[in-house]
Symmetry: C2
């Protein structure tokens, strides 16, 4: 196990790399901790945390809603959870988002930590303290920014994931490479999905590299006044598409990255659109998608990142160098309609 601590503006987060769920007992003993997980993770791994009280929620983004929060809070009250209780979210982004949110509001905030069980959660969703729920079709409309006390990484959990979930995580890894890490981009072009799936050391190292990359960005700008916005590369259009069609987050982000790459080529002379498409295809991600442009633009307007009549759109100068561009809604409309 490799333990590293990172200070954030309001707190400190302990990262347990190369760990297993069995290490949980040292981080948050079962006497004062309650696990929140979903029915999939519970079905696969419940023996590994059988000495913990556990709240099991239904699996899937459609349950990242207030009704689930209400159920969890009712159960916490019945379990007599108090200010000394630690909540542990074991699962993908839905579980970690909802666990962090509940822990941030229950009794005005109690301790919490995560054991991310998907690649997406390990490299992205569990890191950075953004948590919350969707309100109807509006993603992450309600939540707070509050850091977990710990993150425990057990890459053995990835072995039960289908290929589509691996691709889902690689979308965010490719995003990180695009905005901040050209060397990692080259590494990704030299490997395949299969090479990471079949080599525990390789994927553990990639997970740690990405967790640290995102951590560094968030530490510099916890409340997203500047550089943290770079992490939205591919997400502006991606979210708008994801809201309308039944595709996975990583697929939507992949498409968003391709379109952002095209806009980058037009506005900033970005020259690596083909390598970007190739690496996406290499990790099982789409590069084209037919979507309703007018409906998508309407959703963009309601996007959280909207700043009156313009949007902070993340573009690439080159691979490894993301930049924040203020683009008017009008200009975006013109470009998207011209695709």
């Amino acid at each position: 196990m490799n333990i590293q601590s990172f200070p954030f503006g309001t707190s400190k987060v302990d990262y347990y790399f190369q760990a297993t769920i069995n290490n949980l007992t040292n981080v948050a003993p079962s006497s004062s901790a309650i696990i929140i997980t979903d029915e999939n993770v519970y079905g696969l791994y419940k023996e590994q945390f059988s000495d913990y009280r556990t709240i099991v929620i239904p699996a899937g983004e459609k349950y990242k809603q207030q009704a689930t929060v209400n159920e969890i809070i009712d159960k916490l009250i019945r379990m007599e959870a108090d200010r000394k209780t630690t909540l542990i979210g074991i699962g993908g982004g839905v579980v970690t988002d909802i666990t962090g949110y509940v822990a941030s509001i229950y009794m005005r905030g109690i301790r919490f930590g995560f054991v991310p069980s998907t690649l997406l959660a390990m490299v992205d969703a569990s890191i950075g303290g953004k948590n919350g729920i969707d309100i109807g079709v509006y993603k992450n409309m309600v939540g707070v920014i509050r850091q977990p006390s710990f993150l425990l990484f057990d890459v053995n959990l990835l072995q039960s994931l289908p290929d589509s979930e691996w691709s889902n995580g690689f979308a965010e890894i490719i995003k990180h490479a695009c905005i901040k890490d050209e060397v990692m981009f080259q590494e990704l072009t030299q490997h395949t999905l299969h090479s990471y799936q079949s080599n525990t050391q390789l994927i553990a190292s990639l997970v740690q590299r990405n967790a640290l990359l995102k951590t560094g960005v968030v530490q510099q700008d916890e409340f997203e006044q500047g550089d943290r916005k770079l992490l939205n590369f591919g997400h502006t259009l991606g979210h708008a598409i994801e809201n309308q069609y039944q595709i996975m987050h990583g697929q939507a982000v992949a498409i968003g990255m391709v379109y952002a790459g095209i806009i980058s080529a037009q506005l900033l002379g970005f020259e690596s659109l083909e390598p970007l498409k190739n690496v996406l295809l290499n990790y099982g991600l789409p590069t084209t998608f037919e979507f309703d442009k007018s409906a998508t633009l309407a959703i963009l307007k309601m996007d959280k990142k909207r700043d009156n009549k313009s949007i902070h759109y993340i573009l690439l100068e080159k691979i490894g160098k993301g930049v924040i561009n203020q683009i008017s809604l009008q200009e975006i409309e013109t470009i998207i309609q011209s695709f």
Copy 2:
């Protein structure tokens, strides 16, 4: 108008003393602000904020629940409130608690401020950043600590209050005097409820003194690790009684202060129980109440301030000097059963 700014750990709060609602336009222009108020305040004062978009909620503590939060959030989405929007809570503690909570979670936190309309809200509820909702019978079970950007004090709003609401506020003023300000306690013994009701300058001065007193305590200990607990004087037993009987918060706190005074006499030799009772009676507050002791102790056990088997109980060494005492639940049970 008298403007003062106070830094808290995570932000700065601007206090507008001797102001009127008309000054709101300078603090949070109607173009980017939405008012949240209750039907009582709206009925009395709507002309004074008619150029603002307004969300009106039903009046009363029983609406300080998730269902009201859901309704407000749905309306904010329909109004296209975004991260540049300011929410203004105009009302008593229920309105300010719920406004602060919604603003803290909507889009992971937007700007907010308060115009407290009751004496209780001016001297206590609107100050300190605690916000949230009740879950069933459990008071303030869900919420966050986040400071408002501004507080605007318009004591003219007090003129529409019934005497019982004035008494409600004086319970917290007397509490402040007991734990921190012997000179104010003497002032209170020399005046009457009527003298404050009939003299705008006198009540404006008292409001400001109490707002500043509470602000000082919270600034030292925003997240209630120490001295802020003093503000719970009278509240431990008070909340437990308030949860069971249909009495006002101030009445419950008054009874809680009398019992805390009796315990203080037993454990710390506190000698001013009679002056404390007299000042409570002087401001229309009760000093005795028949309550179910066993049921009350059961609720105490679930109190948020419970720390395993003991409670941080606030006692008085003398008037103006509150202290935090760790008392076992067993000892409290013995004392309360002996009353």
